[in-house]
Amino acid sequence: MSFDVNIILRYYPELLGGAWVAVWITAVSLVCSSAVGAVVCIGRLQKHGAASRLATAYIDLFRATPEIVLIIWVFYCLPLLFDVRIGRYGCAIIALSAYGGAYMAEIFRAGVQAVPRGQIEAANALGIPIFHIVRRVIVPPAIGWMMPALVNFLTELLKATSLLALIGVAELIFVASTLGSKTFAYMEFYTAIAVIYFMIIFPLSVYARRAEQRRLRRTGN
């Protein structure tokens, strides 16, 4: 067996292109997930009522369904159900955002609930308008609390983009498989993309772990 580095170097623009697709889909999905998550989180924070039940159902639904099943379902079923053309990339973003929304909602909720009640009460007692309470009193400490979980979720999202190869999105695996079948250098290309994934994800998870430890030390348990 021999490992031909040259073939990787020859096709590096294609590989970088795949990495770029993975990154921008992750970025767009993260933004959409946050939007979905914020709405679901507000519903979840209600103590009772239809919105609360609906939000809980949403979170349960999308956390219990495997990501891959969701991606395939959206790709095959959604366009038929609504009689629209969505395209691979649209399906990818819809599926990842729906899945991500459930996780982001729980992350947001944990963050908001980590803000002590007394802080919000004090702000109320001072007569600070609700907009400023959310922006200045709730959000800053909540973000500090959520950061590790958020970055962890980001790594999960990056890993989930690999599944998009199965619906023909030209991310890293798709590119490597195409190049592999063309050149038979599966070894080289699959190794290359594993390294690329690792280089993107590993620093993030190291950061998440450190931030988590910092937070635990700060809060004292």
């Binding site: 079923c77 159900l81 609504f82």
Partner: protein, 261 residues
């Protein structure tokens, strides 16, 4: 009126002010209005019954991979976790490197590498199912190592020192003093991880074309050109099982933490 006023300070109140429910209703109505009703009316789930043998066999593969992830994962995870506590530094580094590599790359990449690249190294061709079993096992070992390590580190230092002071041999120290409480504390985490692997087995099916439950359902779709019914059915099965297992785990977790108090 009074209540709305006092709740204005909470996020719940904020949601009410936005007419949250009205927005939800509008969204729901919009979705219903845009559904392809001709198609919905033609739904027919009965034909799935004809493929029951294939689906049940597929489910067997899914179960096999799930159980394998649990057994291999806990076995090797425990071993590696003990290795990660070794005084011999290179062994610790090796375990750390293994865990990081398998946790920080996607499962599908690992599966493809094992199925298509590894045979070029070993010269042994593996079937898709065997590749899947190897891949799930390797990844499970990495994830369970982390969990077991956390469990071991949660055992109070004094326990280990007491065992050392008593002159217990290393083997006894691990099997009788450290591991039992360590495993007990991480049982919920182990179960949650296994639920994740139950979900991940579908990646083996589609990625390596192993006829697990989900890939069998997709085959039914391709066979009959009815996509929505088999895929929705399959998704519902994963959903119900995953959800129920999650609830059981949560209940167990609550009981275990109560027991400690």
């Amino acid at each position: 009126m009074i209540r709305a006023g006092t709740r204005a300070g909470t996020l719940g109140g904020l949601a009410n002010r936005w007419g949250f429910h009205a927005v939800l209703l509008a969204l729901g109505a919009l979705m219903l209005a845009n559904l392809n009703w001709t198609l919905v009316r033609s739904f027919e789930f009965a034909f799935i019954w004809e493929y029951r043998i294939a689906l049940i066999n597929g489910f067997g593969i899914t179960l096999l991979l799930t159980v394998e992830a649990g057994i291999v994962g806990i076995l090797f995870g425990t071993l590696f976790a003990i290795g990660s506590q070794s005084p011999f530094a290179p062994l610790r580094w090796l375990v750390a490197a293994y865990v990081e590599v398998f946790r920080n790359t996607p499962l599908l990449v690992q599966l493809l590498w094992i199925h298509f690249a590894l045979p070029l190294v070993t010269g042994i061709n593996t079937t898709a199912l065997v590749s899947g079993i190897i891949g799930i096992g390797l990844q499970a070992a990495a994830y369970y190592t982390e969990i077991m390590r956390a469990g071991i580190q949660a055992v109070p230092r004094g326990q280990i020192e007491a065992a050392q002071a008593l002159g217990l041999p290393a083997r006894t120290r691990w099997t009788r003093v450290v591991l039992p409480p360590a495993i007990r504390t991480v049982i919920p985490a182990l179960l949650n991880q296994n639920i994740s692997f139950f979900k991940a087995t579908a990646i083996v099916g589609l990625g390596l074309l192993v006829d697990d439950f989900f890939n069998s359902a997709l085959r039914v779709s391709n066979d009959t050109f009815h996509f929505i019914e088999p895929l929705t059915f399959a998704a519902a099965v994963y959903l119900v099982l995953g959800w129920q297992a999650g609830r059981w785990t949560l209940r167990l977790e609550r009981r275990l933490t109560r027991g400690e108090r």
